[in-house]
Amino acid sequence: MADLSVRVGELGLRNPVMPASGCFAIEYAEALDLNNLGALVIKSVSPKCRAGNPTPRVAETYSGMLNSIGIPSKGLAYYRESVLPAYTRYDTPVVVSISADTVDEFADAVAEMSLPEVAVIEANISCPNLEADGMAFAMTPETTYKVVGAIRRRTSHPFWAKLTPNASHIAAVAKAAEEAGADALVMGNTVLGMSIDVRTRKPKLGNVMGGLSGPAIKPIVLRMVHQCYRSVRIPIIGCGGISSAEDAVEFMLAGASAVQVGTASFIDPGAMQKIIDGLESLCQEIGVENIRELTGQVKLDRQLSDRWLRFAQQSG
């Protein structure tokens, strides 16, 4: 039996598999034993009450889906009283994901949710920053540094910054989050996309644009996890299109210490358990005793270009 336990900073997890925020709610207790997961990451809560976006909120794509749910929220007090208790009764660390519109609102919300029963705060800084013309906080190193720093000053809880693949220079964003005091990074989130029905000529989402998720985005996010891994020393949690044990190991080899599973649960509510079971047998197959040792172990040939150049010079 392989040892599946991993560490994300100070936090020990029984295995590296946890749900992605937005793709998990207590209803999955009907399909899974929540005591078997590495952590429970709850859907983002925002301090402002929001109805969410107009329907249709979901559209199918090749090997994935677009969504424009829009983070419906009933505010922090409701969340603390009526949402959180259902998750904290399990023997699994609870991660509260927070989304907010401004830097101060973010910092206040994180401070308010830094509760003893909450193991980790995940700051979903992929949401639009109303102070920066609707650009997501994590799109630039500057806004990332600002919001992460403000959050750090208000909480002593372990705190993960959830980055977005919609950033152009992810290594710099990751570095900014580390320097501003994030304990770990979650890389990534959905990729901004759009889809149109050619017959009605209407966008397939009520909100016109939405986030692409599922296997379609896996190579993009895997690359970004690797870029972050080369850029920072804090742990990285990989998130994007993971639907099998092989996907999870691929993310760990690229540099992730743990993984989050999102869209795969929509296709099979038992997906996370199947990935955990699959990790057991995959570790056995590839001769790995401690899964944590896989992190960052992708085999790179640093001299490959030089060797190729010398080899190529021999050709006609």
Binding site: Y28, A31, T55, G64, F266, P269
Partner: protein, 302 residues
């Protein structure tokens, strides 16, 4: 929630819609657990030009676990041309007599159902469920009415079986484009009912004509409840009409585009009016069956 998963006397669906003042009371489940079931295709054939009948068997006792109005999410197989990614919610057309058997009747419309229509007998497919709440069918009912059109027919077919077994009399108003699209036998499946058929082809299915017919039937004899599914226009007309028959409840099985089917993703919400309080409810979770009086008419929002 507990009441709905208690063992029920044979022949009765659990009463699903005792929704009182808050949405919390609507979080009713009729399944102990939800699972992905690998099924074998036992029968798959065209019923007419547009509808196909699909019979699956699983190892689990789906017949006992599934109640009228509930649905499964179907993993439609990929074909050469089509690769549906999301599961397709599909209401159950029938179960049994074998414990693992579940039946679907579906309209071949989009990528998912086109891919599904190629599935061959002997092949395998995965389904997730059972999901959602159920029609409220109470032991004391004397007579019920079902108003069916299109795919709504499949959704309400199990209800007729349960009502007939309980000795409840049935009035059935069936609407279709033409007589050949009606599927009367497929709907009734041997159940004795007072059947009224209306068609687009002769104008008898217009909402005005339907309203007159339903009013006449409800006026002639007391019905405990009117169930419907499949047409938004008929639904909204029934909502108006039922205000004149306060002793008659109304229930509708709603449809909405969804991803997870379990109440997690929040993509399938619709607006409902619960005791004067407008709120978004999840069609997959608080529904798919809702009181007709609670529906807030939406036209533009898929």
């Amino acid at each position: 929630m507990q009441a709905s998963i208690e063992k029920q006397s044979p022949g009765f669906a659990p009463v699903a819609l005792k929704c009182s003042s808050t949405a919390q009371h609507c979080f009713q489940r009729n399944a102990y657990s939800v699972a992905s079931h690998r099924c074998e295709v036992r029968e798959h054939r065209w019923v007419n030009d547009r509808y196909k009948y699909l019979k699956l068997t699983a190892k689990a006792d789906l017949a006992a676990a599934t109640k009228p109005g509930q649905f499964y999410q179907l993993k439609c197989p990929s074909t050469h041309d089509l690769s549906p990614f999301l599961l397709r919610p599909m209401s159950v057309y029938g179960v049994g007599p074998e414990a693992g058997t579940v039946e679907f009747l579906y309209n071949v419309t989009g990528a998912g159902t086109h891919a599904l229509s190629h599935l061959e007998v002997g092949g395998q497919m995965d389904i997730v469920g059972p999901l959602g709440n159920t029609f409220g069918l109470e032991p004391g009912f004397q007579r019920i009415m079902v108003v069916a059109r299109g795919v709504g027919l499949a959704t309400m077919a199990p209800l007729l079986q349960h009502a007939a077994k309980a000795g409840i009399r049935i009035t059935s108003v069936m609407s279709a484009r033409t007589p050949k699209d009606l599927m009367r036998d497929e709907f009734l499946r041997g159940v004795d009912a007072d059947v009224h058929c209306v068609f687009d082809s002769d104008g008898s299915s217009s909402v005005e004509a339907m309203e007159q017919l339903v009013r006449r039937l409800l006026g002639a004899e007391h019905h405990d409840v009117v169930y419907t599914c499949g047409s938004h226009r008929i639904l909204m007309r029934l909502q108006q009409l039922l205000k004149d028959f306060p002793g008659t409840r109304g229930e509708v099985a709603m449809e909405q585009r969804m991803a997870c089917g379990m109440g997690v993703c929040l993509s399938c919400v619709r607006l409902f009016d619960k005791d004067g309080d407008k709120q978004f409810l999840r069609v997959c979770r608080e529904g798919p069956v809702f009181p007709i009086s609670d529906v807030v008419g939406e036209v533009e929002f898929g």
